[in-house]
Structure formats: structure tokens, C-alpha cells
Symmetry: C2
């Protein structure tokens, strides 16, 4: 690297971010808290690479192709950057049949999407997933809802609403509302935009006619069908028993619909038994979740006071994803924290705890012969578990105090000729603006 | 994604790895331990993106170009994946002049190199860096050596040797051994291969003649010069005072060499004062470190019993790296843990602690009406801070015990009709093969 000739702009790629120490500390608190909750439920850690073979991620699919960073390296390899943590999980499960089932794993890390950067939309963002692979039991789906509730509670956020639906119920729409089953994906994608785009736009999208004979992206539903669908997804009823009763009646002619309602009833029983407050979760028939791979219950989580943030933790059941690799069904269900969105939400709602600097002590340093004594003191304090910095440049005291204040370090220690002669140190409490002279042992007691 | 039609091989790219839960747990222990030591010294966290603008990383440099994953996205952007965490740090420092100095930051994460995968050499590997930016004080260089010692001690590994040298001393070689200064990079690269390739090969590399008139990679030194260099770097002397004395004499005619020796003497004073055992670090004139950007002291760390592993924590001073962006000098020094190499070394030396499963309790589940009771019990245990799993599929007890054993879960709980009637639970200690019937409260006491 030629170091001096031309200056290079120290610029990031659009859509990418640094996390400076103050923000990082708060993010670490958040990630540690989530990890602790996941482990409380028995999830174990997994890590997968940033790069995968493109066929593994299915990035030939035109729905994904535009969003994926994909390139060739060393001539031959067709490489894609992971765009989520779910498809890599499916690969791991397929490649390691000996993993004990149910396999309950968590994974945190960045994922990448080559989207046009917008406010709040990044090309590198973080997900923190928990998934249960290897069981069809609705206890697992209920556990994911309970897990979402537990994560939010651990964040100190209880004013949320977990919205639950079942793709099996939505998959009954073609039969019941009367449209071809091939159109279900297009219909679900239109419904998925309800929160952001509003009912009128969704109606227009459902009615849209093909632009030409090759256009396969237009649902082209008639008005009566659209009315049926909109009426159905707008069914609201806080009494879940009652809602399930109504649903059973409306699904009576659809086998898949009946199955979906039964699953929701079973989930309700478990979530209630666990003690999740009944007004913190709801059965909401308008929840579709965009991803194609969901096959059963789906979940999303909004802040009651800020629904416009969108969902901060979402997921669902995806029983067919491992089958891409093995040819055999492997039931699975999970959810993912949108780390960046949750962080911004907590920030705006002022729910992030004040993170105090992890450094407790700055030992001041001056241009004299006592550096060795100060190094010994640093070694002593660190051996007692106290996070300690020694100032490097012998400097005016005021500058060292300014540095400590900027860094949020609460204590400054002075070990000068006078203190050294008496085997003492002076400690300044920078917040209280007090100073005392103590023994090294008393110093430890004061700080701990 | 089309889920059923063709089966896709669940294969990783060559040179990439998954970390399954057992290995991940041990790696997390290692990373947590390193982080704790870094924080003990007052380092604060930073994160930077996986992708950078190619000019920022300097990936046009032919020395790097072959090793870097570089591609274009959305037509225009020239993107490279980071190959270390040091160049991104320099960018962050240049872009954020308000960061308080000294800026002591740590960063952990994957870096990528498009190398041909070999045993023990990966295309995605992890570094855990600590750097001090904004001071020329040798106290900072000494702190990095102290930090290396502290990290290894925290790992439970004290049989290491930290090898210290100074590029300024090596930069005196052209003057003293008599060869043009333009050749110093080629000479240092040849010396850097000493441990792996041996002295004879290094001599051959130093003597190599250009293959044609355009070959600028051949040092082409004469035999006398090579003898001088090899004699110099082979200077061994455990008494550091004595070695520094000899060095001062041999450097007498080189201003940069004298400066280098003075810096080493100052470092010695601080490292000794802190209490690092004197036989755990050495001044080794053969240490060059391959990277071009080092400008002063350089460090590497080997296991005394396994020097062939190579260095597990290395670094040095790089005063000119920020200048690429700002045109102004910004002194900096740091070191990086080679996470994967250290992990493998600890594994082979059997120094990794046995990580016990984080899940403490499996609540057995059967096909009866007591699921609600078991969910309540799970909620109770988790509220007490006990990592608890509820088995999902009502199943034969033996299968549930097998699952718990595979997962390393120490306790199995049975809450059947009899126990429920008495408000008790049965607890099986799977290691001791004992069983007892207790109240939920006693259960918590037993497990905690």
C-alpha cells in the first residue's frame, strides 16, 4: 500500500454503516440480552459463512436475484452473500443429519441485500434468529410466540402486540373466495403490503390486470373476490375463542383451512397456559409475511405506540425448506429479531438503558520517574477486576480530566511524589468533584 | 424459491466453515474471555462493514489484488470484502476526527481472503484486534505486549513467548549491511518466511536474481551482504540489557537504528515494571512481520511447546496508515488475535475448558392433559434464571432421556398425574442416575 501519494476518501459504501463505541455498547447490551433469553429456552449457537454457493441460496430465483450480492471468484465459483440466516440453517440441517432433533439453534450476524439504500434501509443489516427444526408440534410454534414475548420483556418493552396468523388459513382463500390456487403467492404479496400501503392500494394491486401476455405478476381478481378477501382479513375480534369459532364456520368447506384453525386453537391453549398476557398477542388474519417459504403459522411483532416502525421480530413455520436439499420434509419454525429496526425503535422510544463506560479508572500520567509505579498500580487494579486505563502522554492534568470526561470514565487516580512516598493514591470522583487520598486497598473498595 | 423440483447439494464453498453448537460454545468462551481482557485495559468496541469501497482497502495494490474478494454491484460500485480490521480502523479514524484520542478500540469479526484453501488456511477467518490510535508513546507499545500476555494468561496459557522487534532497527540494515534502501521491503518479506522456510531458503531468496529486466521482486543481494544480515538477525541473547547494549554498538552509524534501539529499551522498562515474566518475552531481531504498513515495534506470539503453529497474536506500530486518507500522520499501534489459529492451538494442546451445555433442565412431555402444567413449570424455572427446555413431541421417556444425554442436559423433570396431584415434580440427575421427588421450590434449589 502506497501510503502518502494520493489521498483516498475515507468513505463508506452507500447503505453501509460503522458502529462507533457508544452505539456498539448499547447494541452489545441488546444482543447479549437476546442471547440470554434464547439460551433460557435451550437454544444453542450456530455460525455459518457470509458467502455461500449461489445454488444453495437459490439466488437464481428472479424474486431474489436483484437483491443479492452475487459474484464470481477465482474464475469458476458462483458465489452469493447470504441474505438471511434461514436458508443457511436449512443447508446445515441437510448436511448434518446427525444433529440431535429437535435442533434448537440461535444465530446472530449480518446479512446483505443489494437494495437501493433508503432512510432506515441498509445493505448490511443484522438478524438474530431462533429456530426449532425437527418437530411439527404446535408446542414449538407456541414456544416461538412465548420467546418473542420473553425477548421483548427482557428489553423492557411490554407494550407490544404479537400478531399471529396461519398460512394454512390464507391458503384456503382460493377455494373460499373463488380464484385459482396458482395466484395465492401474488395475493399474499399484495396482502403483505397492507400495513405500509393501506387498504385501497392493496385492492388496486389485487385487481391489477396483466400489462401484456407475458406478465404473470398481476392477480387480476374480480371485485367480488376482492371484497370477500378484504372482508375476511378485516375480521377483528379480541375474544380469541369467539374468533376461532367464527373461523371454523367460515373454513368449514376447506380441509386446509380447518387444519389451520385447529393449529391456531392449539397454539392459543399453550400460549395462555404459559402466562403470556392475552392482550399482548392477537390472531390477525391480515398478517401474510412476504417470504414464500412459510407453510403454517406466521408471526410478527409491533410496538403498540409505534406500529409504523413495522415488525421488529417476525417468523413462521417453514416445513419445506430443508427438502430443497434432501428431498424429504423436515418441519421447522422460528423467528428473527430485526436487530437494526429494534435498536432504532428502542432508541426513538427512549427505552435503551444508559450504558456506562466499561472503563472505571484513568490513572493520570506526568513527565516524571513514577511511570513504573503507575504501571504497577494498573496491574494491581486490573488483577482486582477493575477496568483501568493508564494515560499515555505525560500531559497537563486538565487535558487528562477532559479525556476521562469525554470517555465517561468516572474516576481519575493521581499517583505523584507525595502519594508514592506515603504508599497512597489520590482518587478524584469526576461526577461528584470530590478528591480523597487512600491506600491502594481502600481504592479497590471505593471503586468496586 | 422452488422447493421440491431439483435437489441442491447442501455444500459449502471450499475454504468456508460452519461452526456447530459445541464448537461455537467453546469459541464464544474464547471470544468472551478476550473481550473481557480488552475491556480491562480500557478498549471500547467498534464495528465496521464487511464490504468497503475498493480504493479504501487499497486493493489495486498487486500484493493484495489476488487475495481479495472484489466485485462490482449495481453496475457501478467497485466493492471489496475486508481482508483485515486494521485498514477499516484507519478509515474510521480519518472519517471521525472528533473521536477522543488516544482511541483505544477493539473489534472482532470475520475477514476474507480469496486464497486457495489448504489445511488450516481458510477463506473466511476471524480476527480480534485491539489498537491504540493517537499516541507515539512507547507506553502504548508496551501496553500491547502486556495485553498479549494478559490475553494468554486469561486463556490459561502461560507457556508462550512474545517476540518483539523494531522495524526501525531492520530499516537500518541497508545502511549497515550495504544494499539500496528500495530493496528493504523485499528483504523483510524474505526474512518473514524464516520460521516456515528455514535459513537456507531465506538465503536463496535474498540472493535471487531477476528473471528478466522487468522483474522487480528479486533482492539480488551479494553473499557478503547476506552473511551480514543473517549474522545480525541470528544474534541471540536472553539478557535483554546486554542485547540492547550490543545493538547500540552495532547501530552506532544509523540514526534510525539508534532510535529503534532506544524504543526497545523504553518498552523493556515498562513491560518489566508491569510484571510480565522476563522469560515470556524476548527481543528477536529475526521478527519482521510481513505487512508493509508497520513503521516501528512489531510483535508476535508463539507457543513454546508448539512453535510450528506460528504466531497466534501479532501486531505492531503503523504510524502512516491513517495518512493515506488525511495526508497527516496519526500514530497507532496494536495487535490481533488469529482467532482460528489460537482456537486450533488450544484444542490440540487440550487447553480448552470443557464447556457444559447451557441448558440445565429438560421437562419430559407425554401425550396427556398435563402440557399446560409443564408449560407453567417451564415459565417458573426460566423466571428463576434456569435454562429450561420442554420436550415437544409426546414420546417414550427413553427417547427423551437419549435426547437430553446427547445434548449434555444434566437434569430431566417428570411432571405426571401423580406428581401433579401432590404439587411435586420428579427430578432425574442423568449423570448420577438418581431420582427424587421434590417441590418446585426445592427443584430450583437443587439446580441452581
Amino acid at each position: 500500500m502506497d501510503t502518502a501519494k494520493e489521498r483516498i476518501k475515507p468513505e463508506l459504501l452507500g447503505g453501509f454503516r460503522d458502529f462507533l463505541p457508544e452505539e456498539m455498547a448499547a447494541r452489545q447490551w441488546m444482543l447479549d440480552t437476546i442471547q440470554q433469553v434464547y439460551e433460557r429456552f435451550g437454544f444453542v449457537p450456530l455460525a455459518t459463512p457470509a458467502l455461500e454457493r449461489s445454488p444453495v441460496l437459490g439466488t437464481d430465483d428472479p424474486d431474489f436475484a436483484m437483491q443479492v450480492y452475487r459474484f464470481k471468484a477465482r474464475g469458476e465459483q458462483d458465489i452469493s452473500m447470504r441474505f438471511d440466516l434461514t436458508v443457511p440453517l436449512a443447508r446445515v440441517v441437510a448436511a448434518n443429519p446427525a444433529l440431535p432433533k429437535p435442533f434448537k439453534r440461535y444465530q446472530v450476524g449480518p446479512v446483505w441485500r443489494a437494495e437501493k439504500p433508503q432512510a432506515g434501509r441498509y445493505c448490511e443489516f443484522f438478524q438474530f434468529d431462533a429456530d426449532i427444526v425437527g418437530t411439527s408440534s404446535m408446542l414449538a410454534d407456541a414456544e416461538i410466540i412465548i420467546l418473542i414475548w420473553s425477548v421483548m420483556k427482557a428489553m423492557g418493552v411490554e407494550d407490544i402486540l404479537i400478531r399471529v396468523n396461519n398460512r394454512k388459513v390464507l391458503n384456503a382463500l382460493p377455494e373460499l373466495a373463488g380464484f385459482p390456487f396458482e395466484k395465492i403467492k401474488l395475493v399474499l404479496r399484495a396482502l403483505d403490503s397492507l400495513d405500509k400501503a393501506g387498504e385501497q392500494t392493496v385492492r388496486e394491486r389485487l385487481a391489477r390486470q396483466p400489462e401484456n401476455e407475458y406478465d404473470e405478476s398481476a392477480p387480476a381478481l374480480d371485485q367480488k373476490t376482492i371484497d370477500w378477501i378484504m372482508d375476511f382479513i378485516n375480521l377483528r375480534e379480541t375474544d380469541k375463542e369467539k374468533l376461532l369459532q367464527i373461523l371454523s364456520e367460515r373454513m368449514a368447506n376447506s380441509a386446509v383451512g380447518i387444519e389451520g384453525v385447529k393449529e391456531l386453537a392449539e397454539i392459543k391453549q399453550y400460549v395462555d397456559a404459559y402466562g403470556v398476557p392475552t392482550d399482548r398477542w392477537t390472531i390477525d388474519l391480515s398478517v401474510a409475511r412476504g417470504l414464500d417459504y412459510y407453510t403454517g403459522p406466521v408471526f410478527e411483532t409491533v410496538f403498540l405506540s409505534k406500529p409504523e416502525f413495522g415488525s421488529v421480530m417476525s417468523g413462521g413455520r417453514f416445513d419445506d425448506l430443508v427438502m430443497r436439499f434432501t428431498g424429504q420434509r423436515m418441519p421447522a419454525v422460528g423467528a428473527s429479531v430485526g436487530v437494526d429496526r429494534l435498536f432504532i425503535a428502542l432508541q426513538e422510544l427512549k427505552r435503551l438503558p444508559t450504558i456506562v463506560a466499561s472503563t472505571k479508572v484513568l490513572i493520570a500520567n506526568f513527565d516524571d520517574d513514577l511511570v513504573a509505579k503507575r504501571l504497577e498500580l494498573a496491574a494491581y487494579l486490573r488483577s482486582k477486576g477493575i477496568n483501568t486505563e493508564l494515560y499515555f502522554n505525560p500531559n497537563r492534568l486538565q487535558e487528562q480530566i477532559t479525556y476521562a470526561l469525554k470517555r465517561g470514565i468516572p474516576y481519575l487516580i493521581i499517583l505523584g511524589e507525595r502519594e508514592a512516598a506515603a504508599n497512597m493514591v489520590a482518587i478524584k470522583d469526576l461526577a461528584k468533584r470530590t478528591q480523597a487520598t487512600v491506600t491502594p486497598n481502600q481504592l479497590v473498595q471505593t471503586i468496586l
